[in-house]
Symmetry: C2
Subunit: 326 residues, 2 copies
């Protein structure tokens, strides 16, 4: 079942009119009514589709958006890509996807490709400072790149406060915040800030351990050992900066003979769901991924760019997932 | 940190030469040596990047490939998208991603968009018969669309045989194959064929249950009940067409009081790994996702298209994941 794409020339031939007449009709330039009818009938008969791409080139638009992500095979990013792609297709936009592994060179290279390729805008989740192309609509996820580039993120600060609040509510008296992540400043750093602010307000003693990506288990083990007395951990609640870290810490603690949630309760961040069952990996602060995706697309395609915000934080929620007592 | 993109005009001004000279240099047309040096120095100084996109338009190429998938938030598809994107970026190609939810209309619409958009080729995992654009390189995953369109898949048939062989090796004497999937013909149907062929060759009595997508649990329950005597299941090994189905069947059986793997062993298909730990959800036949991705890209971009195969099946392997006795 093959089909050759008809050209404007084919339409002109079929309609028995000049090529210029066909071009005028397709571009909305007035021609005699009888010509317009002939051309439209011929186009319909041949299945001619007006080439929006070529038309876009003339208008300087391509209906194409670039999405730059570190990976697309991580559950958070793949869900984000899915929702952004859906939101764009609904608006008849196409999505170019770039993956960078969060490497500065790869991110710069992607932006170079975007500059060379004609796109109408960029949505990017990057880990490094980037030179942004002037005049090109750009929305950043999780990282503020500059005053004119809107950043969309979860309400990480409130999420951190919520996690601390939950741990205290569930009986913890000595909570800790653990984090591994990029050394570059990001909205996600506010998870720890929110946690700290609530513990301070409630005058609860707390611990903070922030490590950079690639940190080995030994550093966490040292931290735990320094908070153990007679084989018992003095920390009774842990807020981890991601679900991935929460899973890692849980395994580490269980290997040390410490029970979760009996001895220590753990809350992660993200809301990653298990394949198949859809259940959570751990108790967690859930990111509103669909809202993040739709907000990015709405901001990127906004006609009126005079009221574009610098930062949009979307509401998070807590859900119990087996690593807490509720 | 913003940067305006320099134009050819800026380069001409900087070099103190005519615009036509700059154009010649960028397009490899000979000019006086001193002019070439001036232009190249100016381009370098201004950070001018030759617009490959505009150049591609003249050459009739765009260095852009469309990838059409049902979803990108399912682990198999997200891994596939990741590897295809990596393989394309390595070759300086960009990837347009379309998601269709496997709906015939959405798939046709995507192909319509691809026709309108200029791309150099299409890689698609579709569920419905499609009209393919003549002359446009096209690689299909898991579904044979026609004699001139190469199809890339796992060696599903061997995978089915391997699953049956494993179940028999692990002591099963009455195995079954269960499947839910699209009613449209697909390479993945060969999983059941391979299973059946091995059971026949070994003269082992076996059961087959093939249901369409959306089949409710009640149909599986009826099947199980019809193979139960005195509360014991006569079936002692199950090969499921996907890991997702294997997880679903496992839960169903455990709710019926049947233990996995003690009473019945289960093997899935795909090789989906758990987030964080990377462990398998079940014993399974692993699809070589990276090889599938790279083969698609290699076939799509092959210069010599006279030797393009109709079907490429890539080797699968078995791995134990807790739902079998080995």
């Amino acid at each position: 079942m093959k089909k050759t794409m008809p050209t404007m020339k084919d339409v002109a031939q079929e309609a028995g009119v000049a090529l210029g007449t066909v071009s005028k009709v397709f571009n909305g330039i007035p021609v005699g009514e009888s010509y317009r009818i002939k051309v439209e009938a011929a186009a319909k008969k041949l299945g001619y589709e007006v080439n929006q791409y070529a038309r876009g080139l003339r208008a300087g638009t391509t209906s194409t958006i670039a999405l730059i992500l570190p990976h697309v095979d991580h559950p958070f990013f793949s869900t984000l890509a899915q929702y952004i792609c859906e939101a764009l297709l609904q608006r008849s936009y196409r999505m170019l996807l770039y993956v960078t592994a969060a490497q500065p060179e790869a991110e710069r290279e992607c932006l170079g490709m975007v500059r060379q390729n004609k796109v109408d805008g960029v949505i990017a989740l990057t880990y490094n400072q980037l030179e942004v192309v002037e005049g090109l609509p750009f929305v950043s996820i999780d990282r503020c790149l500059g005053p004119d580039i809107p950043c969309v993120a979860s309400d990480n600060y409130t999420g951190g406060r919520l996690a601390a609040e939950k741990l205290l509510e569930l009986g913890c008296v000595h909570p800790a915040f653990l984090r591994v992540g990029s050394p570059n400043l990001s909205e996600t750093d506010k998870r720890g800030d929110g946690f700290e602010s609530l513990c301070r307000a409630k005058q609860v003693p707390y611990e903070m351990l922030r490590l950079d990506d690639g940190a080995e288990d030994i550093l966490f083990h040292e931290f735990f050992r320094s908070h153990m007395e007679d084989g018992k951990l003095s920390i009774d609640g842990i807020f981890c900066s991601t679900d991935l870290l929460a899973c890692r810490i849980r395994t580490m603690l269980e290997n040390l003979g410490i029970r979760v949630p009996e001895d220590v309760q753990i809350i992660g961040f993200d809301g990653i769901r298990q394949f198949g069952t859809g259940s959570l990996y751990c108790s967690t602060i859930i990111q509103p991924v669909r809202k993040i995706a739709e907000t990015c697309v709405d901001l990127l395609l906004a006609k009126n760019r005079s009221n574009i915000p610098a930062l949009v934080c979307l509401p998070v929620s807590y859900a119990s997932g087996g690593t807490t007592n509720g």
